[in-house]
């Protein structure tokens, strides 16, 4: 009989640390450090693009392309957990990585223009963005509640200074503080939920639960918690823990009743960061939610389904109704994002409903998130073209008046983005909503479908209200009303942003008519 010495145990342990599996995250972090060093020690430039900014964009673009090639050419069809069950690599992880890299690349491109117009420091912005992205990528591959928490907090901590990046603007700082307080509150709630699960899991008999298999399991791993919940769906502590964890997540998604922060924080933060929040933060929440409800929380899904249903309906209705009253565009986009989160929650519910065969609903979530990425980045990129004199935050509807006449190309791309978000054929957003309707109907979620229909109709009001401002002739102003400042100057240095805008506009349009490989995998 062999006795394992300490070194042998360490070796077995170390073999499970497959660092090669997380090479994108590692290289991203190294790139982040590199960007910071270059900014610190590199040549000082006053020209339109700084070295570290361009370096950041290049690193991320290279990573994205390499990751895509790596993923598409080598057929990764396995699901493997590494680091002793801390991380789980598989299909969802790769999709998430692609998503976050793409979003972060676009945010860096927009960020360069913002930093140039605002004359802010460049290095920290890109460093924080890249670190946040690395955290997001790890978050979506987590297989253990400790890793989940640490990755979530990394992301959150990277976001707080990003939201407050414009230290000359009170709005930015105030938004940062609000985001921090709400974010910390929700992560404390999440943590309490994890603690409840750990408490019951580590000593089940003491808390009225029945023990699961052997005791040498990792009490905070998803598998163990999944078994625990499967065997004890009625335990009050466990249910409380699950609800608390989901509340913490609901904050990130912006689901009711944790959506109070959305309007203010989106309003105050710089436009590229608003885009980052709207796209990546929300997507991370949804990837995580999908993993959780189809993984560890599967045992309590009978209890969770009506709960999520109520939350989804309330979110959809609140998001759409509140967005109708907004004058500021970023606030409106934030609240419409809340509504989209509501629609996605319906898809998550559908995935819970199809017990073993949730692939279709999960795929709908992925597709919807990608379409939302394309449309939102398109809209925010156009918004970042606007040049304010002092601060960036207050883009109102009036600033867009008559854009179709002044700059038809910008207006048309913006139109494509808005129409895709609104779900108008023939753009991609319609296909996403169609697939969502289909899946929801198959899961017999009829009331949710009714609220979705109502939500989409209400959303036409504010989306087409914006289109109205862009395209129709402005209302004649009285002589003594001051003229709004014309934002659409300084349109000379926008090469890369223009490319992004046109790319995403074309993609949104094409995906509305031909879904090709995306539809086949559905």
């Amino acid at each position: 009989m062999e006795v394992m010495t300490n070194m042998d145990a360490f070796q077995v342990f170390a073999e499970d640390n497959m660092w090669r599996q997380i090479w994108p995250e590692l290289s991203l972090v190294l790139g982040a450090v590199l960007v910071l060093l270059v900014d610190l020690f590199g040549p000082k430039q006053q020209k339109k693009s700084s070295l570290s900014g361009s370096l950041a964009v290049l690193i991320q673009a290279f990573l994205l392309v390499y990751h895509l090639l790596d993923y598409l050419l080598l057929n990764h069809t396995f699901e493997r957990s590494s680091f002793s069950g801390m991380l789980c690599h598989g299909f969802q992880g790769d999709i998430a990585r692609t998503f976050f890299l793409l979003a972060s690349l676009c945010v860096s491109i927009m960020g360069n223009r913002y930093l140039f117009l605002n004359r802010s420091r460049v290095g920290e912005f890109h460093h924080l963005t890249m670190v946040a992205t690395a955290g997001l990528m790890l978050l979506c591959q987590s297989n253990n509640f400790i890793v989940l928490f640490v990755a979530l907090e990394t992301v959150a901590l990277a976001f707080y200074p990003l939201v407050a990046y414009n230290t000359n603007s009170e709005k930015s700082l105030e938004a940062g503080l609000k985001y921090l307080i709400f974010g910390a509150l929700s992560s404390a709630l999440l943590l309490l939920g994890i603690v409840f699960l750990y408490g019951v899991g580590s000593n089940p008999e003491a808390w009225g639960a029945s023990a699961t298999y052997d005791n040498s399991r990792d009490y905070l791993s998803f598998e163990y918690v999944g078994d625990l919940l499967f065997n004890n769906p009625d335990n009050l502590f466990l249910r409380g823990g699950v609800v608390l964890i989901l509340s913490g997540l609901a904050f990130k998604i912006g689901a009711a009743p944790f959506q109070i922060w959305v309007a203010d924080v989106y309003h105050g933060s710089p436009t590229p960061i608003t885009a980052f929040l709207a796209v990546s933060s929300k997507a991370a929440g949804f990837f995580l939610l999908l993993t959780l409800v189809n993984g560890p929380f599967f045992g309590v899904s009978d209890f969770l389904l009506p709960l999520i249903g109520v939350v989804a309906t309330f979110t959809i209705l609140f998001g759409n109704l509140a967005a109708c009253t907004q004058q500021n565009i970023k606030r409106m986009l934030g609240l419409s994002g809340v509504a989209h989160a509501g629609y996605l929650l319906v898809a998550v519910m559908a995935s819970m409903h199809f017990a073993g065969d949730s692939d279709r609903a999960v795929w709908v979530v992925y597709f919807y998130l990608f379409i939302y990425l394309f449309a939102s980045i398109l809209i925010f990129a156009v918004m970042s073209l606007a040049h304010f004199e002092n601060t960036d935050e207050d883009q109102q509807f009036e600033h867009y008046q008559g854009l179709l006449k002044k700059h038809p190309w910008i207006a048309l791309s913006l139109l494509v983005g808005i129409a895709s978000l609104a779900g108008i054929p023939p753009f991609g957003g319609f296909i996403a909503k169609l697939m969502l309707f289909n899946v929801a109907f198959e899961a017999k979620l009829h009331w949710s479908m009714v609220s979705m229909v109502l939500g989409v109709v209400i959303s036409i009001y504010y989306y087409f209200g914006w289109i109205r401002e862009i395209c129709f002739q402005p209302k004649p102003k009285f002589d003594d009303e001051e003229k709004d400042q014309d934002l659409w100057l300084r349109l000379d240095q926008i090469g890369l942003i223009k490319f992004t805008i046109i790319c995403f506009a074309v993609v949104s349009f094409v995906l509305g008519i031909w879904q090709g490989p995306f539809g086949d995998a559905f």
């Binding site: 279709r360 179709l404 006449k405 038809p408 048309l412 139109l415 129409a419 108008i424 054929p425 023939p426 319609f430 296909i431 169609l434 697939m435 309707f437 289909n438 109907f441 198959e442 479908m449 229909v453 989409v456 109709v457 036409i460 009001y461 087409f464 209200g465 289109i467 109205r468 395209c471 129709f472 002739q473 209302k475 008519i513 031909w514 879904q515 090709g516 490989p517 995306f518 539809g519 086949d520 559905f522």
Partner: protein
Amino acid sequence: MSLQQIILLGSIFIPAFSAIVILLFFLNNERRAKEIAYVAFIFPFAAGIILFLNFDPLNDGYSHEILFERMGLHELGITFHLGLNGVSAPLFAMAGVVGMSAGIAAIHSNADRKSLYLALLSFMQSGLMGIFASVDIFFYYLFHEFALIPTFLMIGIWGGRDRRSIALEITIYLTLGALISLGGLVALNVMVDSAKFDFPSLSNAILSDGLGSSTQNKIFGLLLFGFGILVALFPFHTWAARGYECAPTSVSMLHAGVLKKFGLYGLIQIALPLLPEGGQSWGAYILWLALGNVLFVGAVTIAQNNLKSMIGNGSVMHMGYCFLGLGVCSSLGASGAIMLMCAHGLSVSLMFLLSHYIHLRSGSLEMNEMGGLGGQTPILACFFAAATFATIGLPGFGNFWGEFAIFLSLGAQEGHFVFLVLAALGIIISAIFGLRAMARIFYGTKTDEMIAYQKNKKISDLRSKEILPAAVILLPLLLLGLWPKMVSDGIDTNVSSQLSILNEEGVGDYALPPCCPPQVELKKKAPPLMDSIKPENGGND
């Protein structure tokens, strides 16, 4: 691909393509934009006529079919399938005719930023041709929504008074209808397990599996209300008159003439044949609501003073007749509804066109400020008289045959006699408002306002470039009225075969009115698609 298939594909893509070309290159070059727009509108017109003439009316399936399988969303059964059948061929031709007329009117109008206007109109035309050419139900829906944004933009930029808010209002209302009908279509797709999402596959699947009666009721209800909002069924009709009054002429022509028929076409081609029990249970409600259209909206039309508003309300009223034909759930009624749709599309767009010409010559659209125009513009008066008689439903124009068939179908079933009587009142109503409008505008003495408006202007009769669009619509209308057989053969074959697939009783007798020329082989019902399979009732619910 045969020449006809290429023409079919081209009739959808050439207007869209020319719109993109105008947007890309010629936004500032109005002359070139006009030339491209000519192509964009004449091609679908020619395509419609050619394909309609080449259509074999005894074929109860689809001809000139094009099928692209791999469009994605394979799981939902969506393919890109184009084709024309007996019902869609005349509607397709009508769309081409109205489109060309609206396009030429737009080219010669004096709108500013005309290139953008023509581009948007071409997009709309492309969508219209696609609606009637598609066999796949998803693309049918997509092409309809394709026209939503151009309509919104055109009403908002080039419309009349209150255009900013009316454009938004109409878009919200129509989106509500579109989404409810989308719910119905999604329900149909999910509940019926067929390989492709088009009518033949769906009917095969329902034949073999059957669809429970309460499911049919719910799906039919969703489709009825969704499509009903889109067609201005009472009480969801308020958007129509306001919208048409405010919209520019070409948009009103295309929308009222063609786009509104989308919902009825869907109900007759998809809902009624596939969901016969649903149709039977909703039938009574449809009849009552349609009567609301005819009588209530008819009364509103009589009270209108604004010419465009009168025409808009009048078109809502005539949609009531079509719904009556639908509600009877017989092949005669459905055929009559289709016939009326073809003819009404032509007549109402002609009315809108002429109202535009009248507006140019008299300075306002309020009828109590007009009078005596007939002396100055006899040709315009002739056209207007023709359009009015068509709207009233006098013989000689296609509307008569449609309305007649609908009344026959109402009379053929007992218990519907009261509907017949009340609906016949509708003819009197249209006579009242039509003839009164004619009298007020063209006869009598000139009012002061008109004299003031015409003081320094030279008021001429219709010029040749104005006569062309009007004649392009009037000729088919007359043709339809004098020789309905060219359209009704195809309609009958198709409708009677479709309605009899799932409904064994072969609802409604097809009885010929004795004065029509004898039509060959009409009593032959096309063989059902699968002889050996009988429809089962009580399948999944």
